[in-house]
């Protein structure tokens, strides 16, 4: 078995203080290894997004340890966490989070700008990433000129373009109809199988979780189930 890529130990995340304090995560232990395709499920409010944001270094835990590739993330400063996101992590949001009035190509280019890549190289890579998600010919479309499924593909291309070690997707199909959802899932499975990309995905649909190789279930901020996905479900 490969070394753990993501290791959560006793991760706690609370919101608010005193009486009104909410424990979004309450001592989560979770190890994810390279090449895995993990689906996270659980009722609404069980802490799935909170966990994803912490794994994605978009948020910080209140307590516990998070080791990414063996490095303790809690001790990194803001800029070092930015570098971690830039070089190793790709995030896909339920609500896409694309820049408005900005073309698909420019949206996908964005992470490469901060990597300091020259323009010609950025354009080439962004174009290639859009092609990987099946959006060739849509490079110059702004988000408002694209369907939800296409916007999510742009977001996936943006997550992929920097060649991350892990792709984190929080309900990537949450805003899409079944047909588009299946297309996105096929794409993710292909990225995982053919390119060995580690994927962690939150979903609330059994059908989507079936594309993963492992299922983790959250309830009330804790992991209550963690098991391999039975083959042949999808």
């Amino acid at each position: 078995m490969s070394a753990p890529l993501i290791e959560l130990r006793g991760i706690t995340r609370t919101y608010g203080e005193g009486e009104a304090m909410v424990r979004a995560l309450d001592g989560v232990d979770l190890i994810i290894r390279e090449g895995e395709f993990v689906a996270i499920m659980g009722p609404s409010g069980s802490g799935k997004s909170t966990a994803m944001n912490i794994i994605g270094c978009l948020d910080r835990p209140s307590d516990g340890h998070y080791l990414f590739n063996g490095v303790e993330v809690a001790t990194l400063d803001q800029d070092q966490r930015a570098l971690l996101r830039r070089n190793y992590l790709g995030f896909v949001f339920q609500g896409f989070n694309l820049l408005a009035r900005t073309t698909a190509l420019e949206n996908v280019e964005l992470p490469l700008i901060y990597k300091g890549q020259p323009r010609a190289e950025r354009v080439a890579r962004a174009g290639a990433a859009l092609m990987r998600v099946g959006l060739e010919g849509r490079e110059d479309h702004a988000p408002s000129q694209l369907s939800g499924g296409q916007q999510q593909r742009v977001a996936i291309a943006r997550a992929l373009v920097g060649e991350p070690m892990v792709m984190l997707a929080d309900e990537p199909t949450g805003n899409l109809d079944t047909k588009r959802s299946v297309e996105i899932m096929e794409l993710l499975r292909q990225l995982n199988r053919d390119e060995g990309l580690t994927i962690v995905m939150v979903t609330h649909e059994e059908d989507m979780a079936a594309y993963a190789s492992r299922l983790v279930v959250f309830t009330d901020g804790r992991v209550v189930r963690d098991e391999p996905v039975t083959e042949g479900a999808a």
Binding site: N53, G56, L58, D59, R60, Q78, D79, A82, L83, R85, R86, N87, F91, F93, N97, L98, L99, R101, T102, E106, L110, P111, I113, Y114, K115, G116, R119, R158, G162
Partner: protein, 401 residues
């Protein structure tokens, strides 16, 4: 990387045309208003100081009638005669004395004519009023005494009647007089109240009295103090002499007045100072309004863009990179606004100066100050809210609606 940041800033500016336009507008209004007003204010200061010089230094003017009296009262006081001028000439406190009688007539040369003001006086008037001869000569003593048919014309009259050609030696007709142009005055430009000082014809006082007005009255007397004599002393000697000549009993008020031109100069100076102060405060308010405009747009823009900042942070931007982008954006907008504002302000000041016939005198320090202020407002209010947003955890910035 800096070039990349500048490019990013330009992209963002173009992407948000309206927001960019409003920011630029704030800078333009502030800068243009200040530059226009202060430039006009300074132009009028320059004007006043040159007027003060053209009024002549150490010049006193004697008029019939008491000072500060209602209309009509002046008429009851007797006019001066040339004999009064002769008597004044005897005073050692004065170095030059010239009678002044004025009327308006039309001067004709060939088939061109010009309605202008005619001043009857003597050669001393040129010295007292600080006039210089551009061409030809002044009146001779004989011409002054005899009332010869000669005249000296101002630049405006020359241009109207003769164009650019030399007028000396030509003969013009004023009412019934045919008079020879013996001299041309050096142009003085607009006077204290915007009047054209060069729209004038000077003739010997007797010529005007006899041929144009038809009486022996002298409306006023212009005098220059001898060097080293204070205006108080000059005025008191003139008053003593005139009270005696006019037989004014002790205890009775003067029926004439002596004005020190310096008083008029200082009065003009203080009017101008008030005007400049007024313009400056309006300008300061405009700058403030412009600044508040910029501030608002920048604050709204950063609030609006907190999600954008979140997205950039999420894909791996460091806070410093995001900030640099906002800073460059603010600088670019301020510079664009500043340049347009400077050009607009100078343009307005130029047009206004033309209308008010005052010199156009732009000042580098005012331009720099207005520009600097707007740029600072733009940069500060672009920078600080952006800094607060860039310091958030990405997820907080993204949650911002």
């Amino acid at each position: 990387m800096l070039w990349e940041t500048v490019r990013l800033a330009f992209t963002a500016i173009i992407r948000n045309v309206l927001r960019s336009f409003l920011t630029v507008l704030g800078v333009v209004i502030g800068v243009a208003a200040v530059i226009a007003m202060v430039t006009v204010g300074q132009g009028s200061s320059v004007q006043v100081s040159s007027n003060v010089e053209s009024l002549g230094t150490n010049v006193l003017v004697l008029r019939s009638g008491a000072r500060m009296m209602g209309p009509g009262t002046r008429d009851t006081a007797p006019a001066f005669k040339l004999s009064d001028v002769e008597a004044l000439r005897e005073l050692t406190v004065l170095s030059a004395v010239a009678p002044v009688v004025s009327t308006s007539e039309t001067a004709v040369y060939g088939n061109t004519n010009r309605a202008t003001s005619i001043t009857g006086t003597t050669a001393a008037y040129l010295d007292i009023g600080g006039w210089e001869i551009a061409r030809g000569r002044s009146f001779t003593t004989l011409e002054d005494k005899s009332g010869a048919n000669v005249c000296i014309i101002g630049e405006t009259v020359r241009t109207a009647l003769f164009g650019a050609t030399d007028p000396t030696g030509e003969t013009i007709r004023v009412k019934t007089i045919s008079c020879e142009v013996i001299g041309l005055l050096v142009a003085k430009g607009a006077g204290s109240f915007g009047q054209d000082q060069d729209d004038i014809i000077l003739m010997p006082v007797r010529t005007v009295q006899r041929r144009l007005i038809g009486d022996q009255d002298v409306a006023s007397v212009s005098m220059k103090l001898a060097s080293g004599v204070s205006s108080d002393r000059g005025i008191s000697e003139i008053e003593t002499l005139m009270r005696e000549r006019r037989r004014i009993a002790i205890g009775e008020d003067d029926n004439f007045s002596v004005t020190d031109m310096k008083e008029i100069a200082s009065m003009l100076g203080s009017i101008n100072a008030v005007l400049t102060g007024l313009l400056s405060s309006v300008a300061a308010v405009s700058l403030l309004v412009g600044g508040i405009g910029i501030m608002n747009i920048m604050l709204v823009s950063v609030t609006e863009r907190t999600r954008e900042i979140g997205i950039r942070l999420a894909v791996g931007a460091q806070a410093g990179q995001v900030l640099m982008q906002f800073l460059v954006e603010a600088v670019v907008l301020s510079v664009i606004g500043g340049v347009i504002g400077i050009l607009t302000g100078l343009g307005l000041a130029y047009v206004a100066s033309g209308f008010m016939s005052i010199p156009f005198s732009p000042s580098v320090s005012v331009v720099a100050l207005a520009f600097f202020f707007s740029a600072v407002v733009g940069v500060v209010f672009g920078y600080f809210p952006a800094r607060a947003a860039a310091r958030l955890d990405p997820i907080e910035a993204l949650r911002h609606q």
